[in-house]
Symmetry: C2
Subunit: 226 residues, 2 copies
């Protein structure tokens, strides 16, 4: 989103459409909250709750009820005036909107310290996220498996990512490889990346990157001590 400012000259983006004919652009923050609603709804379902109001949904997440209603209204009319939302119904709708009504296939690139931890982290599978393959460029790791996941040569990334129909790439390589690996992933058709590398990635607008950086988070938190 740094295009067309006085810092970078107006880019003659051949690839980018002048203005996508989308009805209304949905803020990223809305999508993130959708996932939060989904989780709360899952809990409510376990508690056998049939209905829920925007007010309660908001309270359970520390949000404003108008925001909840507005977020949901981006995607259709899911509620019943005077009653609220039907828990299971709304949950299914949200999962469909997010595309998590099927298993999501992940590829991990970089099986170092952090990568290994991610492979053994059970939390993913429970939510329907499946690390299908891993990549590294260390001879000693290639061909082996870790946490039931086979480790392939990073040189074969593009081919295997296509073959295995990977949805999302997880980046956990050394910082100086991040941009290159990122480009390989994009070249292989990936346009959603979870980036654990403490480095800024340059990607086309069509590619979505989420940064996870614990050091930055801790550093930010230290500002608030005492």
């Amino acid at each position: 989103m740094s295009e067309n400012n006085p810092d970078s000259p107006p880019t003659p983006h051949a690839a980018t459409s002048p203005s996508p004919p989308t009805e209304k652009k949905i803020p990223k923050a809305v999508i993130k909250r959708l996932s939060l609603y989904s989780r709360v709804l899952q809990n409510l379902e376990i508690m056998d709750r049939e209905k829920v109001s925007s007010r309660e949904l908001a309270a359970r997440l520390g949000l404003n009820s108008a925001q909840v209603r507005k977020d949901l209204a981006y995607f259709g009319q899911f509620g019943v005036p005077g009653l609220g939302y039907y828990v299971s119904d709304l949950r299914q709708n949200i999962k469909r909107i997010l595309g998590t009504d099927r298993a999501i296939r992940l590829a991990l690139v970089g099986v170092g310290n952090l990568g290994t931890a991610l492979l053994s982290y059970a939390g993913f599978a429970r939510q329907g996220f499946h690390i299908a393959v891993a990549f590294d460029c260390d001879r000693r790791k290639i061909g082996s498996t870790k946490g039931n996941v086979r480790i392939y040569d990073a040189a074969d990334l593009a081919r295997i990512v296509r073959q295995e129909e990977i949805d999302i790439g997880i980046l956990a390589v050394p910082a100086d490889h991040a941009q290159a690996v990122c480009e390989s992933l994009i070249g292989a058709g990936i346009n959603a990346i979870l980036n654990f590398v403490p480095a800024h990635l340059s990607v086309p607008d069509s590619v979505h990157v989420h940064y996870v950086d614990l050091s930055i988070e801790i550093e930010s938190l230290s500002y608030y001590l005492r």
Copy 2:
């Protein structure tokens, strides 16, 4: 920040001052970017760069240069018109502002799957973040050490957190314990928490919580597939 809306009745917060006599409130996003600047400056220092402009700093992070200048200007005048910023000088200033010019002491609560991964994650130490102690309530873990960190009984949390002068708490317990543990930490004087638990925490305004939730991130990313 959910106070004073029609959802929650105006809370008669005895403890909260009506409006802190702070000069200007600094947005959380600014603090987060400060940490990013700090990292880029570290890299520039390694490259033996003496000076840097807001333009370059911005470009390296995909931001706007006016934003960089404005962020820094919250805290003083660090730049030289016509020249830019002195790399080492600015970096030191930012570290001082963030409070990371000394080692930060962390306490991990919950030594399960994820907690163990965090203990063995080397990335922290490098940045001056030190997990000083860990807590669990499993008899078999209490008293042992993992990754050089001693695991204490969660029942002794308050006492040890004070004794060890912990700055930040890391929450990695089962979801149904999160709120209670969070309150113990706050009771022990902690007001900065890194929360890995997929649950909303209710905390006073004075306490800062950062949520790290990989499942939510992946779920959000799946929205953008194709």
